[in-house]
């Protein structure tokens, strides 16, 4: 059953993405920025999905510490890995846009810097996991680190925002403007990217589950 849902969701994501690209391509270019502006249809959903992922990682980590159920640990690591990939996508698309709009690949602007710091934070989470062998300790320490990292995200974002800002005012929740008839395109792409993310999390989750099953079988074989 779960596999079938997975296939259906995957097919749905592909259909929506293809359809989206077909509808986004004929849209007129933005007056000042030209065609590269359309990267926003991918750039922003990637960022939002990555933020959602860090939220889910926090909830899963807290739930693991409360229940000690390894399902939550598997969810935390899956969602963190996918979130890290999404954030990397966000940084790369932003960098491409920056090359066109600002003429440089990277600027030490508030949002870029905080995105990079968040990326490094969660990369640390995965490195910490890699360094610990024992499953219970790994899950516990990783959960503790995830909580620390999540608390840091708003502090990083606000402090770096005070430090400097060069990023265009955010289109959503921040004074930028976005044509109303473009909003549906944006929302559809948001849905598609969120679907892809959920799909990747699920695939990764199954890997974690199989891994745990393998480990327990191996232990049993040793015991015999």
């Amino acid at each position: 059953m779960r596999e079938k849902i997975l296939y259906v969701l995957g097919a749905l994501a592909v259909v929506i993405l293809v359809w989206n690209i077909n509808t986004i391509v004929p849209l007129p270019a933005e007056r000042n920025q030209g065609v590269v502006f359309k990267i926003i249809f991918f750039h922003v959903p990637l960022a939002i999905s990555a933020m959602l992922a860090s939220g889910v990682a926090l909830i899963a980590s807290v739930m693991f510490l409360i229940t000690k159920n390894f399902e939550y640990d598997a969810l935390a690591v899956s969602v963190t890995e996918v979130g890290l990939a999404l954030l990397a996508g966000n940084l790369v698309t932003g960098s491409i846009w920056g090359r066109q709009a600002w003429g440089i690949w990277w600027a030490w602007d508030a949002r870029l810097t905080s995105a990079l710091v968040c990326w490094l934070l969660y990369a640390g989470y995965l490195m910490l996991r890699n360094a610990i062998e024992e499953p219970t300790q790994r899950a516990t320490f990783a959960a503790v680190f995830s909580i620390f990292a999540f608390i840091d995200v708003p502090i990083v974002i606000f402090s770096i925002k005070w430090w400097r800002t060069q990023h265009p005012q955010p289109v959503f929740w921040g004074g930028g403007s976005f044509p109303a008839d473009w909003l549906p395109h944006f929302l559809w792409n948001m849905l598609a990217i969120a679907l892809v993310a959920a799909l990747m999390v699920d695939v990764r989750l199954r890997q974690e589950e199989s891994q745990r099953e393998l480990d327990s079988l191996r232990r049993m074989a040793h015991a015999i």
Binding site: M127, L128, A131, E133, F141, F148, I160
Partner: protein
């Protein structure tokens, strides 16, 4: 034993052990000197522009050298299974954590207080620093407390894992970004002769907030880290 007394006992034990061996504090100060020396090749230490970056440089030295002290904090307890004994002792994890954090704070501050004059002499910023010594010391204490809290809890987190010495800075520096950034900006402003007001106070409040939040979170989570 009251909570405060438990904290004091752990802190004094750590300080006594460190004063007898001096392994962490010596290594940390020697490292700070080496970094200060290397800076002199990276840019002209006599130029006027040095003043503008001195706040940042100073905190890079403190963060790097401080990590050496923090790395030892829990690793010191590994031989003879001292860590197990400490965890089994009839004190709460929070008391153990606070005691160790205070001891680390004293050690890192000691390293910083010795490095600061050397830094001033090497980079010719003695006069501006001595004029603003009070505010600079305040920033040093707040920044160092942030460094110590994060460093101590992560020292407990990494004590038993592979690549301990590498993992601690890898994990702590990204978390410390807001604190280090605030401390750097305030120190820079002070060295440039600005009074501690306006923007600098905002940064100081951010630094205090960082310290408070992470002290609270660490106290809540330390039991989980130590006992599981």
């Amino acid at each position: 034993m009251s909570f405060a007394r438990q904290v004091l006992v752990v802190a004094l034990k750590d300080l006594r052990a460190e004063l007898r061996t001096k392994e962490a504090i010596n290594a940390s100060f020697a490292f700070a000197l080496v970094v200060l020396l290397l800076f002199s090749f990276a840019f002209d230490p006599e130029a006027e522009t040095t003043r503008e970056i001195s706040g940042g440089l100073l905190w890079i030295v403190f963060a790097f050298a401080g990590t050496l002290v923090l790395n030892r904090s829990f690793a010191r307890e590994l031989p003879n299974d001292c860590l197990d004994a400490l965890v089994a002792a009839p004190i709460s994890g929070a008391a153990l954590f606070l005691g160790k954090a205070f001891a680390n704070f004293v050690l890192v501050m000691a390293m910083e207080l010795v490095s600061l004059p050397v830094f001033c002499i090497f980079n010719n910023v003695g006069t501006p620093v001595s004029k603003q010594l009070g505010p600079i010391l305040l920033v040093m204490m707040l920044g160092t407390w942030g460094l110590t809290v994060i460093g101590t809890i992560f020292s407990a987190l990494t004590v038993n894992i592979r690549l301990r010495e590498v993992m601690l800075p890898m994990l702590t520096y990204p978390i410390l970004v807001p604190a280090l950034m605030g401390a750097m900006l305030i120190t820079k402003g002070l060295v440039l002769g600005h009074p501690l007001s306006g923007d600098l106070v905002t940064w100081l409040k951010m630094l205090m907030g960082f310290d408070l939040i992470y002290t609270a979170v660490s106290l809540v989570l330390v039991e989980t880290v130590l006992v599981g």
